[in-house]
Symmetry: C2
DNA sequence: AACCTCATGGTTCATTTGTACTATGCGCGA
DNA sequence: TCGCGCATAGTACAAATGAACCATGAGGTT
């Protein structure tokens, strides 16, 4: 049972060519793992999955076109049995939570040493979850934590862009009192002292992004 | 001259095992490039350089212990002829400027396709700079731009942590009027409407960081 | 010597922000 | 139906912020 007769079939999904190469090479020296496909985007990943269904999908979260967590959800909608192991740079709590909620079986950071990545793939192939202590720790810190509503995130995104409450109100067609109320909720929920700290906390957690 | 008799010797410096593997594999299929060393930190990189001086050092900027730009400067202090090609994820203007100022010959992003990375190594080996248009564009945007003083960055870092001008003043043992003046300078120099936007701009440019 | 930037400290004033409440209507789940 | 969270809107008030100024001393460069 711990030694599968068949090699574990892995589909690698990452938009960085260097990372795809690295993972493929890494698994070539493993006798019980076989890379059966590689993809540089979610769309390609779906096609590769259909072509040759893998035992484990090893994927990054940041990808062009479709966000990684959406890709996980979509993949599992199409193939409910698909087992996904996330391998990414992002330590933001929000990424972790969303990836696992979307159905990922594990979450590893890209600086993980070879043996642990291999072990992670083996675990996931055996239907075991693979969430290292550091990540699990981040996760437990999120439990019981108020999450921001969609509207609050919308408002906080504008705060991050330097908008005043009045400007936010105009942008969203609401009263500036309401805008202020949303900002205050953000402060309370995030435990921030002011709007600036609220923004930095939200960025750290992955709730809002700076690029556009 | 364009076809060197000897293969180009490359030292790979990256704290991600996956990336080291990927690059090594990528260069194995190139007949004119030879990976002569790999390192996961600046310290290791110095040792590897001494052991087998490469023609090109291909390195990441984010590394444990020593910041990449400092590592470049130190390496070129020890070996003035060293040619460094940066391969990183960071697009922040500040990273680019500092890396080139520290003596890097080129700056590539990690999602660069194989052929371009190979071409970059070849160019740097031939003492040519390798700065793709996208990066060069970022660079030109920085010219003539006021840069923040050390004190201003110090202040802005505290602003990012949600500190008020008064708290910043206490922390830095200065008057709250002075703290406010520094914040105002930041707003002016960064072209921000308020302290929150100043922080997000500074983060995007790589002037301040959120982790500690 | 003249000039410049930087860090420092100051004043004044209008605007913004954050705190602390109240309140209404909607939708959802117990 | 009752309660809860959410979005909405409001009031009142104290504190913080940002704009627009001025000024000085230390440390450089030209």
């Amino acid at each position: 049972m711990t030694e599968p007769a068949q090699r574990i079939k892995v589909l690698i999904v990452d938009d960085h060519p260097v990372v795809r190469f690295g993972l493929r090479t890494m698994f070539e020296s493993e006798t019980n793992i076989l890379v059966t496909g590689m993809a540089g985007s979610a769309r390609e990943a779906f096609a590769e999955f259909d072509r040759e269904p893998p035992d484990v999908v090893l994927m990054d979260l940041r990808m062009p076109e479709m966000q990684g967590t959406d890709a996980i959800a979509e993949l599992r909608r199409l193939h409910p049995g698909a087992r996904v192991l996330v391998l990414t740079n992002y330590e933001g709590d929000e990424y972790i939570v969303r990836a696992l909620q979307a159905g990922a079986m594990g979450y590893l950071l890209k600086n993980t040493p070879q043996e642990e990545i291999v072990r992670g793939v083996e675990m996931v192939a055996n239907n075991q979850r693979c969430v290292p202590p550091f990540i699990a720790q981040r996760l437990v810190e999120t439990v019981g934590r108020d999450e921001l509503s969609q509207r609050e995130i919308e408002v906080l995104t504008l705060v991050a862009a330097g908008k005043s409450n009045k400007e936010i109100a105009q942008r969203l067609f609401i009263s500036d009192k309401t805008a202020r109320n949303h900002v205050v909720s953000c402060l309370t929920k995030l435990g921030a002292d002011d709007r600036t700290e609220a923004v930095t906390i939200a960025i750290r957690r992955g709730l809002i992004h700076l690029d556009e």
